[in-house]
């Protein structure tokens, strides 16, 4: 499918337009006639861009911007921090035809971006037909993989447009410490194979209490080779709950902050080399969350498991919280319309600790006001979902961005 100039979705307030060049914005109904007449340019639409959105009770978009679609839980790696405890497939996973039907439903609902995730998605024998079906339907795609299945034969069949291969990398020596059956050297080779074939690739890292220094080396590798990069802290969920010792603590804040600032500069440069991608839709999710003062999970994002069950996000899917039904019983549009009420009732004002926390106010943007992580850390869904590391990191990063000379 040729890349369209713009992707369009109707919302209560007007439209979401996602341009092939990577810009995403909210617009009123007035832009529709301009688009139909063929006179619209991005420049001519700019004055119409909405700066404010009406927010009502249980606010949500007409469909997710992004859906994470676990097409199997099967995986060849027993990673210590896997949030879905991948290894064996789930009981009664979706067949090829059922996966195709889900993709059709997501497309019909208006979903823009899709992350094919596992388990290891490439372990499915029908991975390539699924990928091609998703690409033909026009999704902006990211493949979240451990990279071990990547060969020249697979790479030859990957889409060349609007598809990024995101490979999990957790350090140099620490990569194997966490992933047991995978080495950084092997993954470097797979990444360079993608580079030689002009396939955009990303290195996605989990920060632990002991790999911050190594992640600097990984970022240098990404910078040197034009790979995207991202990192997120270890969470004690899924298999990770058995290895809480990997959770970053206050001693790693300095290293993690330095990594973040380097990553931010790298990301700014890399972002200009790609049109639409999952991360740009994720940025919009954050913009919506910050503006509407509620999580974006179940509001602008959903997570579909390989048995057809639907959750607001990966954390909910991992912990079994806020289940929203199963696509074997109801269509995705039906599930999205009325099965996320409970999570949509949570707002940034729901947290019991937030009123006395400086991180709940500007200029900070705290993403730990999550009922599931609140329950994980405090036993109370209205409790604080942040660890001391996360709090200190958020404060340090925000303060340094506001005042870089400090």
């Amino acid at each position: 499918m040729a890349v369209p100039d713009v992707r369009i979705r109707k919302e209560d307030f007007g439209y979401i337009l996602a341009f092939a060049t990577g810009e995403i914005g909210f617009y009123p109904d007035e832009v529709a006639p301009m688009l139909v007449a063929g006179t619209a340019t991005r420049q001519s639409l700019e004055p119409y861009r909405l700066r404010r959105l009406p927010v009502q009770d249980r606010f949500h978009l007409s469909a997710p911007l992004i859906v994470w679609f676990e097409i199997t839980r099967d995986c060849n790696l027993p990673c210590k921090h896997c949030y879905v405890e991948a290894g064996r497939p789930r009981r009664d996973e979706l067949s090829t035809e059922e996966v195709f039907a889900v993709l059709d439903q997501l497309k019909a609902a208006g979903v823009f971006a899709l992350v094919l995730v596992g388990g290891e998605p490439m372990s499915r024998p029908d991975f390539l037909p699924i990928l091609h079906r998703a690409h033909d339907l026009g999704f902006v795609i990211s493949i979240a993989t451990n990279g071990t299945y990547l060969t020249q034969e697979i790479v030859d069949q990957l889409p060349r447009e609007e598809c990024i291969v995101s490979i999990s990398v957790d350090g140099t020596s620490q990569h194997q410490e966490l992933r047991l059956k995978s080495t950084f050297a092997d993954i470097q080779e797979r990444l360079l194979l993608l580079k030689r074939n002009d396939i955009p690739a990303a290195l996605m890292c989990t920060q632990t209490d002991r790999n911050a220094g190594e992640l600097h080396e990984v970022l240098t590798f990404a910078e040197d080779n034009g790979f995207f990069f991202g990192s997120t802290p270890f969470s004690p969920i899924g298999r990770g709950r058995f290895f809480p010792q990997y959770q970053p603590d206050l001693s790693t804040v300095d290293d993690a902050t330095a990594l973040y600032l380097r990553d931010k500069a790298h990301d700014t440069a890399m972002s200009e080399t790609v049109g639409l991608c999952v991360t740009k839709f994720l940025d919009e999710c954050h913009r919506i969350a910050q503006a509407t003062r509620r999580e974006f999970c179940g509001v602008a994002m959903a997570y579909v498991l390989s048995d057809g069950s639907v959750y607001p996000c990966s954390i909910c899917a991992s912990t079994g919280k806020f289940p929203a039904g199963n696509l074997r019983a109801r269509s995705f549009a039906e599930v999205w319309a009325d099965s996320f009420d409970e999570i949509r009732d949570y707002t940034f004002d729901s947290g019991t600790d937030c009123p006395s926390c400086e991180l709940s106010r500007e200029p900070y943007y705290c993403t730990s006001r999550c009922p599931v992580m609140g329950e994980v850390h405090t036993g109370d869904p209205t409790g604080c979902g942040a660890t001391p590391f996360v709090k200190a990191s958020l404060k340090r990063r925000t303060d340094l961005i506001a005042n870089p000379v400090r």
Binding site: P4, D5, V6, I8, K10, F13, T21, G22, F26, D29, A32, P33, L35, V36, T41, R42, Q43, L45, R52, P54, Q56, D57, W68, V115, S142, A144, S166, P200, A202, M204, G226, F228, G230, P233, S235, I237, Y260, M270, E272, T273, V274, G275, V278, T279, L282, H286, R287, A291, T292, C297, C313, S314, Y365, T367, S368, A386, V390, L394, R397, I401
Partner: protein, 61 residues
């Protein structure tokens, strides 16, 4: 790989036939129906979100 994407803000936006048909339908529906929702407040979406610390769901680019 990694060539800079040129935004070209003055380039005319071309719709697919499917998009055009959908928009025409939306336009006629919008003219007939008015939005009737109880608005709690207006969210300022033009403010940039600062990159957060903990987003497990963001582990794909």
């Amino acid at each position: 790989m990694n060539a800079k994407v040129t935004p070209e803000p003055e380039m005319r936006i071309t719709l697919t036939d499917e998009q055009r048909q959908a928009l025409v339908k939306f336009i006629s529906n919008t003219n007939r129906a008015s939005l009737n929702v109880e608005v709690e407040f207006e969210a300022h979406v033009d403010q940039g979100a600062i990159a957060p610390v903990a987003v497990l769901v963001g582990n794909a680019y």
